[in-house]
Symmetry: none
Subunit: 409 residues, 2 copies
């Protein structure tokens, strides 16, 4: 069975938006064993969208559209899918009521143009949108199937995972592609290539490294008739990889470093507090992306100004004067201060020069000290990161989590 | 003149690779004044690539292909562009010699398959590739033009900037597209559509809203012979828009809400501290994305656990017991606590239920209180946000910044 994507939006062609939705959809097609031969991208133009849809329906069994489901007059996907498939549009009272109650709950006035979002092709099924107003739609007609999905990634991605992926799995069926990702910290892509070069020539299952910011993901992929078969093919390759570089693998698949660290703490019934200078709260933000972090993560102090380091964390002003705010001494005092003030078992600190200004000969941009304090122990490590302000900040967060992960292992 | 992109590569359809090249190319088309109506993405399959190329040449004056220029047998773009345009392939001796010397320099053995990369359409021009082996190619035939570019971004992007953009500027010649973005908070896309519906029918300059997370961007776009002319066309439309909804516009173009708030504080010589519960440090992280924030941003407290609210911010335990941690009272005490502890002029707080768990009938997921404390003043506002944990958290940050922006205006 063949599937095709039609991405709708002038902003995609103008280069204002990267089409990450289509990437996620491509992966979902592969996972469901659907053959994916074509993707078309068109602007919010009725004539050209119609041509694209006609072409897609002429050659593909399933057409998934992304975007153009909003309330405004340039949201034209619903109408044109109907035209292309020769279907009528009907108003869905349930959607209208749902939208009206949504607007009431949010205290926003109801505007009549929103009723556009309640129109749907006759005979279609509605996919609830938990994160926005435009519902998704599934249409089947004349042996063809269309799935209409909203464009904002915050609506598209949950809908893909929760509702559309199961539909794809049901209609897919044939040979599928299944991957497992091993997540590595503290070892670069080229080192890994050396460690594993002989395993990387394998074709099915295959092994490929993908460099992320300060992590490398090793993707093990098999093409098989079932997920179980693919998993059986991947297992021995994974064992070989782990045998060589297991100590650098912190997790697998969707597991993030913050998930693993929070689990480590939970299983030890210990708590954590942070003290952040150059990351400004980013480490705390990352830890609290994980729902349920509150049982081990107490909170922390964003000590961006030196006075905050002194007033809230109890760092000694003379230590800042003598060693500088970016120093081993201050990193240790910040970690200890966070641990004490927040009554936590562990305190972790970040203080560094994120740039672009503020670097010196001694402490160039990218110099970052990570401190870790536990009961009766405190230490700090220096890092020198390359890259932009954003990169330095995100690498600092990952380095802090890596330090904690290694200590708790 | 119309331009079309054909991106070639099975990895694009499998979702292994994000097509950032096509995004950069879209921007380059717009800057050169080329109309860009279509993008096609196909795998490394001769039959399907041929169909895509035929379609592209049938409707567009310029076709730019990305990828499929490598040395292996699935690199088929050269051949198929020749087929589609009815041209012969010729071997280019200069390219052969260049490739051979490149291999010598890098100490790699010459493999005969590399000679594929020296084949080019008869009558084509070669674009040197400073960062890889496959050269780019420019072909003109029968009133159509094709530019063939390599797929790896490290080769594609420099070639675009150095060699292809000047070609596009020359052939675009006439009109270019220039946009200005007005950034709106506190007013939804559908409300804006009502406010501005009569202005949205204008075609040149045009006005279109784009919904972001909790913001809306109004894009004013003009097609003109020069950037100056485009700006002159946009100015009166911008004045009309500002006349109607100016109070909701916080900035323009690349200006973020955090930039504006920090500037407001700076011009008043005032400082800011934050107290974050459900956002876990995200507001601080956002404020410190701005280099040089340290002159006005003192830092703050991530009071994720209730004990942190009490111990570090001085929230009264009996208020948490009576009103709950997500309440007007606690939001006010948090804001005041941050202001006091950090010795700042302003304290802003966020406490809410980000979900997915923790909601109650009274305080469902998405309930967020934003507190603001200044000298002799403290107040809090309740919000009810929809969406995922991620959305609730990022909307809370924006709401906090919006509150401060309005107060300081």
């Amino acid at each position: 069975m063949t599937a095709e994507v039609v991405s709708v939006g002038t902003e995609l062609l103008l280069g204002d938006t990267v089409d990450t939705n289509a990437v996620a959809l491509g992966r979902a097609f592969a996972a469901a064993g659907l053959s994916h031969f074509h993707r078309q991208t068109v602007g919010d133009n009725p004539k050209r969208l119609r041509v694209a849809l006609d072409l897609a329906f002429s050659r593909s069994d399933l057409v998934v559209t992304i975007g153009g489901l909003g309330p405004t007059s340039d949201d034209i996907t619903r109408e044109l899918v109907c035209d292309s498939l020769g279907l009528e549009m009907v108003e869905d009272e349930e959607i209208v009521n749902h939208l009206k109650s949504l607007f009431r709950t949010r205290g926003r006035p109801w505007v009549e143009t929103n009723a556009r979002q309640a129109m749907r092709p006759a005979g279609s099924t509605v996919i609830a949108n938990a994160n926005g107003t435009a519902p998704g739609l599934v249409v089947e007609s004349g042996g063809k199937m269309a799935i209409l999905m909203p464009g904002p990634p915050s609506e598209f991605l949950p809908m893909l995972t929760d509702s559309v992926a199961p539909i794809l799995a049901r209609i897919g069926g044939g040979e599928l592609i299944h991957s497992r990702v091993l997540r590595v910290v503290g070892r670069g892509e080229s080192q890994l290539e050396q460690d594993l070069s002989d395993l990387m020539v394998s074709e099915n299952p295959s092994l490929a490294p993908y460099a992320k910011t300060w992590e490398v993901h090793l993707r093990l992929t098999a093409r098989a008739n079932s997920v179980e078969e693919a998993k059986r093919m991947i297992a021995p390759l994974e064992a070989l990889v782990r045998g060589r570089i297991g100590e650098h693998i912190y997790g697998a698949d969707k597991e993030e470093l913050e998930d693993v660290v929070l689990s480590q703490l939970r299983s030890r019934a210990e708590t954590l507090a942070v003290a952040e200078s150059c990351t400004g709260g980013g480490l705390g933000e990352r830890l609290t992306r994980v729902a349920g972090a509150s049982d081990v993560f107490q909170g922390g102090v964003i000590s961006y100004a030196n006075s905050a380091k002194v007033n809230v964390l109890g760092v000694l002003p003379e230590d800042i004067a003598e060693h500088g705010a970016v120093s081993e001494r201050v990193a240790c005092e910040m970690a200890r201060g966070a641990r004490d003030r927040l009554h936590a078992d562990w305190g972790i600190s970040i203080t560094g020069v994120a740039g672009p200004d503020g670097g010196t000969l001694d402490k160039p941009v990218g110099t970052v000290w990570i401190g870790l304090a536990g009961q009766g122990e405190v230490a700090a490590i220096e890092h020198r990161f390359g890259g932009t302000r954003t990169t330095v900040r995100s690498r600092s967060q990952t380095a802090a989590l890596t330090t904690l992960w290694r200590r708790l292992r």
